[in-house]
Subunit: 232 residues, 2 copies
DNA sequence: GAGTGGTCTAGACCACAGG
DNA sequence: CTGTGGTCTAGACCACTCG
């Protein structure tokens, strides 16, 4: 087994057992000394941890442990075919609201963005044969003011690619389930006893790697299912 | 912008316009010459493409294009990075039951298998600091009778690889949410108001492509979250 | 054997955060 | 300013695929 894999594995163990969320990993140079390898080899090991979502790099600062409660990051590589992408095809899209807002503080903190940033907030509702199945909030960063004026439904990513030459690449996606709020019950036409699935997605500019969109989708669990397809 | 990003961007364009699925990219050394950079820089660029799922590396062979522009437009593919392995590290695994049974008829139909097939059924429970968070049923096909006798927790896939030289590859995975049964409430120590997430996974023999495992995981939605990382 | 990707080392300089 | 991560170069050797 490659050296960097062994180091990654050991660091994973130590993070799980000896670190808390927010702690900084020792600097790469120190780790390199400790494991008696080149700094590049340590970097390669940390790459693994970053990919698993265990740590996050901060230039000039260090590597911060970001562990969520239990991050069920999957080790095998497969492709994720996400219904949200195909939604423009089979589902109707209803634009609920589209405006520029100040990014909610909670999101700003989570995404590591400055407070007070103005963003486009697009809220949509997806329907299947008239039944609402999914509510989505898109937060879009760094767009011209009028960027979304012409958007009238369908695939948002397609629209951004065609109209603004912005090509987005999916980043980390998180899925969880919870009970709906009263508001969600109304908008999704469900009773209070039906759970909703909440999916958070990062989308980055394919060229520059900058975060351009963060979306939160809430869907009816009685009608909606997510599937992950293996890569060819 | 970093050199490797520019190169990645250019290669992406060329792949989209001038290559077909299955083609090989020029070797790293040639690309390095062409872009007048070090081979490592080209590698870093190709890393991006691999991460986007555009190409796949084959040691001794080259980099194969695995996605045409058409595929790409239809469904953006991101990867699913999963660590059942890591769960063996940070979480305790409790073996609830391990026996040979006749595959339940409902599953046989769904998986397109004959009725009456005998399989290994392994039931496990995962705990975090003593709290149960996840119940898993593994159905394993075509194993010797005593195959699992020595399994005592940790990663099942690791065990199969080490002890039986069976290397598994993730296939289709489906995720949904629902309310728990009474039995699940008991085993997961949750109240009836907490949804569970249910994840069904196909796993195939990496060599022969034969279905070897079907697993059903049910997890507490108040403690558990699934994450999907972009990756080949 | 020749050519490919995979890993590791060594050294250099840059960009950024913090005191 | 110092220390951190980010990038790039250069060279070496290995593991693998193919003819």
């Amino acid at each position: 087994m490659a050296v960097y894999r062994k180091i990654a594995s050991q660091l994973r163990d130590e993070i799980m057992t000896q670190y808390s969320t927010g702690d900084l990993l020792p600097p790469e140079s120190r780790l390199a000394d400790r494991f008696s390898v080149n700094r590049h080899t340590v970097r390669r090991a940390i790459d693994e941890l970053v990919q698993d979502g265990l740590v996050r790099r901060y230039q000039g600062l260090g590597c911060k442990i970001v562990q969520t409660p239990i991050d069920y990051a999957l080790h095998d590589r497969a492709a994720f075919s996400h219904n949200l992408n195909q939604i423009g095809l089979g589902l109707e899209t209803e634009i609920v609201r589209c405006e520029q807002v100040v990014l909610p503080a909670a999101l700003a903190g989570q995404l590591d963005l400055a407070l007070g940033v103005r963003v486009h907030e697009l809220r949509t509702r997806r329907l299947v044969e008239g039944d609402p199945v999914c509510l989505i909030r898109h937060y879009l960063f760094g767009l011209p003011d009028a960027a979304l004026d012409a958007f009238s439904g369908g695939s948002l990513h397609q629209f951004l690619r065609d109209e603004w030459s912005i090509s987005l690449r999916r980043g980390t996606t998180r899925l969880r389930a919870r009970m709906p709020t009263l508001d969600e019950c109304t908008q999704l036409s469900i009773s209070r006893g039906i759970p909703v699935m909440e999916v958070h997605t990062h989308n980055y500019c394919r060229d520059t790697g900058v975060l351009r969109e963060y979306s939160i989708a809430r869907s009816r669990s009685d009608l909606f299912e997510y599937s992950v397809e293996p890569k060819p």
